[in-house]
Each structure stands twice: as C-alpha cells, then as structure tokens.
C-alpha cells in the first residue's frame, strides 16, 4: 500500500528558505505570487494490506524519524 506524506513548517515558525525563494521568484519576473512555503514530501510503500494498519505504520515513521514534531506538521494521504 502506498502513501504520500507532506511535511510543512508549523505556522509562526520562521521559514528562511521560503523567504529567499519568494524573493528570487519575484526577481525572475514572476508577479502575482502571494505566498510560497516549502516542505518535504515522501512517497512510502509498505507491505501491508490492511489500510488502518498501514496508515499507522506510516504515522509511526513520521513521528519517529521523518518529521520534527517541534517545528513541523504532517499529513498522510493514501495513493492508489
């Protein structure tokens, strides 16, 4: 079973990367850009057919390693 995980910085946490990328895009002549925030993305496949169990597994991975819960939030989505 396959999942995607997106990890984003919590609101109010400084995003130095986003700031620089925003400025650069503007300098490259891209107008109309309101906001851009950068995060991480994972594509995870587990050997597990029970969706609940599989999701729990992915959640465990996020909490144990992939996500820094102090400054990041995450979201899990099932892929087909």
């Amino acid at each position: 079973m396959k999942f995607s995980v997106t990890v984003t910085l919590k609101k109010d946490v400084l995003d130095p990367q986003g700031k620089v990328v925003h400025n650069t895009l503007t300098n490259l002549g891209i107008d109309n850009l309101k906001s851009i925030r950068q995060g991480k993305f994972f594509e995870i496949e587990v050997h597990e057919i029970d969706q609940k169990k599989a999701e729990d597994k992915v959640k465990e991975m996020c909490e144990k390693l992939l996500v820094n819960l102090i400054i990041e939030d995450f979201q899990i989505n099932k892929l087909q």
Binding site: P16, Q17, V20, V21, T24, N27, L28, Q38
Partner: protein, 225 residues
C-alpha cells in the same frame, strides 16, 4: 593575467580565493552578483560558500542571477571559468557543466583533507601537475556527490573530461576512498571545450605550508602560465 571572482550573497570562500589569486600574481577583481557587466578578464572564478544559504538546492538561486548570463557569454567566447565547491554546484545549475551534485552519501557535511588523483593534465587548469599525481586537498561540502546520466558519463571518460578523482594515499580509486558517493569517484570535471572546470575540493586552501600544504598551487600556476 586578470581574474574576476563573482560574489553572491552567502559566498564565503570569495576572500580565500582572492587571496590565492593575488598571491599567484593574478590581477584580481571582485564582481558583485547584481552587476550586469563583467570587467575584462581572462579567468572567472565562482567561489565556494553557501550562496543564498543553499536554500532550495545548492547553487540553484545563484544560477539565476544577473551576472550569470555574462558568465555564460564569456565562457562561450572561450574565457576560462573555474567553479569551486558551491561554484561547481552553480555551474551545473546554469548548465555550463553537465550533471549535478547530490547530497553526500552519509547525509552529512564533510570537511577533511582527501587524496585526489590528476586524471588529465593536458588542460589549461592542470598542465603543471603530473598525470596521475596524487594531491591532498581539503573538501568541505554537503552536496558533493556527483551524478550524471550514463551517456554523459561515457563521454566524460572517453573525451578525458574528468579532471580529478578521489583516491587513497596510494592512488587507488575505490569505494573506501570515495568520501561522498560521487560516480566513479569524480571530484572535478571539464566541459567539452575544457575551458570550464568545476571541482568540489578547495585548491585555494592549499597554497600555504603554514596552514596546510601547497598542493593547490599548481592549479593556479597552470592557469597563469
């Protein structure tokens, strides 16, 4: 011989390379990235550091700056271009050199003196070295893991476009002597016309025996001769 060092916000080896160039008798100028014209120059150096914090991808944002267009033009006209560390990353982002630099295989920043073997000494950058000479040069990077597609790799080998490879003290090129996971232990490459060199190791750190060694000197003396 005249040289120009391009300075980006976040460049931090710009002073180091300028010191080296001046010591080797180049007439050097610093060029701020916002400038739209290059001074008359025989050598352009894109220095190491963390241009724009290396945010997004190392070298990506610097690769879009104003001055880079000028560097591309100058390179096309045959001007010598040297990219060191972040400079190498920037040159790959602009397409002046092919391939890319991925994260080190251990996912850690690596700073140490490593052995390199000179793989081609018939170029303007390396003529003062012996072929297969073993150098000890400092590396300091997070993303030095050179990667390219199989066709290009073939070409690099066939056309002798590999400048340096990581090796051990005896010159053996193997997995153990590869600090960052680079394909074929590649530490530096040329473009087709061999007027552009990109390399991860820092020759400018090896020009003074009180501080390190002088294995970097011949790169600069090759250029100036």
């Amino acid at each position: 011989m005249r040289s120009s060092v391009i300075v980006f916000p976040g460049s931090n080896c710009d002073r180091d390379i300028a010191v080296a160039l001046e010591k080797m008798q180049f007439k050097n100028q610093m060029v701020w990235h916002k400038e739209s014209k290059l001074p008359k120059t025989d050598l352009i150096v894109v220095p190491g550091g963390f241009s724009y914090g290396d945010y997004l991808r190392s070298g990506a944002i610097a690769g879009k700056s104003l001055i880079i267009d000028e560097v591309i033009k100058a390179a096309a006209a045959g001007c010598l271009v040297l990219g060191i560390c972040n400079g190498f990353q920037i040159l790959t982002e602009t397409g002046l050199l092919k391939g890319t630099l991925l994260r080190n295989k251990n996912l850690k920043f690596i700073n140490k003196d490593v052995n390199l073997i000179v793989s081609n000494n018939k170029t303007k950058f390396t003529s003062k070295y012996e072929l297969n000479q073993i150098l000890k040069i400092n590396i300091a990077h997070n993303e030095g893991n050179y990667f390219t597609n199989p066709q290009h790799l073939e070409k690099l080998k066939k056309e002798n476009l590999i400048a340096f490879k990581y090796c051990d003290e005896k010159g053996d090129i193997n997995k153990d002597s590869n600090p960052n996971g680079a394909m074929e232990n590649i530490a530096g490459i040329f473009n087709d016309k061999k007027n552009i060199l990109g390399m991860m190791p820092h020759p400018e750190r090896m020009i003074d025996k009180t501080i390190s060694n002088s294995d970097g000197v011949n790169l600069f003396s090759s250029l100036i001769s």
